[in-house]
Amino acid sequence: MFDDNAKDKVTKQLDAWDANMQKRYSDRVFDLRTDGGIPIKPVYSPADIDHLDYDVISMPGQYPYTRGIYPIMYQAQPWVMQQIHGHGLPEHARERMDYLAELGLTGYGETRSYNLVFDQVCKFGYDPDNPEVGDLVGLVGVNMTTLDDYDRLLKGLDLERTAIVLNQGIHSMIALAFFIIYGEQQGVPKEKLRGNTMNWLYKGWMTDLEMYPPKPAFMIMSNFIRWCSRNMPRWNTTNIVSYFAEEAGGTPVQEAAMAMSISIALTEACIAAGCQPDEFLPRFGFQIALGSDIFEHVAKIRAMRRLWATINRERFGAQDPHSMTIRCHSQTSAVSLTAQQPMVNIVRSAYHALVGVLAGVNGMTINAYDEALGIPTDESLMLAVRTHQVAQYETGMPNVTDPLAGSYYIEWLTDRIYHDAMDYIEKIEQQGGFIKGWESGWLRNELANSAYEWRRRIDSGEKVVVGLNKFQSSVHRKAQLYKIDPKVKEVAIERVKRYRAERGMESERAAALESLKVACEGVLDNHKADFMPALIECARARSTVEEMASAMKGVFGWGSVY
């Protein structure tokens, strides 16, 4: 990267630096590592990036997009304050949506955006009166079981100018089916709807939860992507949530590599379903962790931009720049927060948010300080929103795009993580790819080993967690906890029972559910059918979440891989 004259100067300076180090610190060894375990030096110099070709850094908005997916970033479009929310009944969730709007949350361009999380009951495809759901109704997400719930939640919102993230986890397609019918009823055709589904059916790799089995899961996801790509041009089909890899214990390199590996497997599945990469890659999105080692996570995100662009162009022949520009939603690391001295989490989350801003993410969820204890109170949520706003309006950071570019450390670390991740992706390929890595438990074990190592370092004191293993305090200020309305489950059950009793449309619904089963069988038969049209008819015929999910589970299978 540097000419001989510059190299000479640098060499002289380094020699002088070495001599200085010998003089001052000859008796000390500085054994430094990033939190993810990459050995690092106390100082970096031009010599550390001389091996880099300037092309791999380039400019923002130019391949390989290391510096950003657009030519300028926050000067044109600030990161979106995409706070997650969702609890209780639809009207509780709507209250909080209105509160967030009051606090100043907006969206991309002229739209308003909501990042809605559904409860575990919905996510796993159950109705609230199923005995197995216990007390989970409305606890860590909103319960949305019927079409009426969409009306309760969305009444009065301008759907053409509102983007909704429908985070019903692996059953987001059911939420989309309901949302499409609701939109129709409001006079908004599905082509005009904006928002995101998660399409998280690959998520079973990390846990022993019941899921759709791996191979059917990829057929469902690719079938869904194919249908959405051809029918809903404004819809973001898939969220690749590498955040969960970090939360489960993964290092930044593992997080980056696993994200790419999922994207690769999905791309291959969509190609097998008859799609061209440029048809669907532009509507993928990522959800990336913002962790405590500030520069390591910044470098990871820059490396992920370069990884996704390179893989899609070189491996899959993508040509549309939108297929190479990774859109990054992000979330501050929850696993780094403590239940002890919870107010310290405000500080942690602000540092995590700093990572997002410096890395140039497109959207961010900043965890509230009581994240380790429950869902946010109004006060803790407000503080999280204010954290965004101070960063956006007071710090000056949004004035310059990718300000850390050219830093010897950052460029060295970005390139290092890029290569380490490529090596790890190759390791996953040697297991037979993501799907095999999932089925065999190899990926899960990798994360468990990292999680074990993380905890070992904390227990030994090598890794300090302020307030937990150092600087403990017996003066424990208790955080005010959010209390869910205890009637939520009762009301949700009463509503779904009434819905079933009053909905009519018996024959339409029976036919729709039957056609859903047939369509699902068609999906498994090399995508001879699309399941979404049938699912939409089930929503139109007033099915419940569990009725629709059960039809799907019956065909695709459901259980734990491990």
Partner: protein, 141 residues
Amino acid sequence: MKPMKSEDKIRILLSKNKMDVHDRGIRYLARKLQEAGFEVILTRHGLIDEVVNIAEQEDVNVIGLSFSAGGHISACLRLQQLLKERGMTDKRVIVGGIIPDDDIPDLEETGVQGVFGAGSSADEAVAFINSMFRGEKLLRP
């Protein structure tokens, strides 16, 4: 002469609801408990009844439930009720995960003997479990 079995090992059932996603804590604990010499069975459950069935089948000494998404009090109430009905009140119950301090007295009312909330160390859990059985002989038919 009867063959030697692991009669003296304390047997622990660790279980999480099958919709409770975050399991790195319980998996880490399971590994540490095994390293400490306990027999550990790790499962998922839908209804608490399943936990009690396995606890009986596997003849465990301790039942450990983990919660990251709430529902702990009603789950422990149900567990207490079932253990009473099935004459299994000799089984000790411990709980872990995201447990607000304010809920600990209510949990103790249901017979929970140890609560290991966010940040607890595996060593604490090991010491506590050992202390629950100090001086007892774990006889098996």
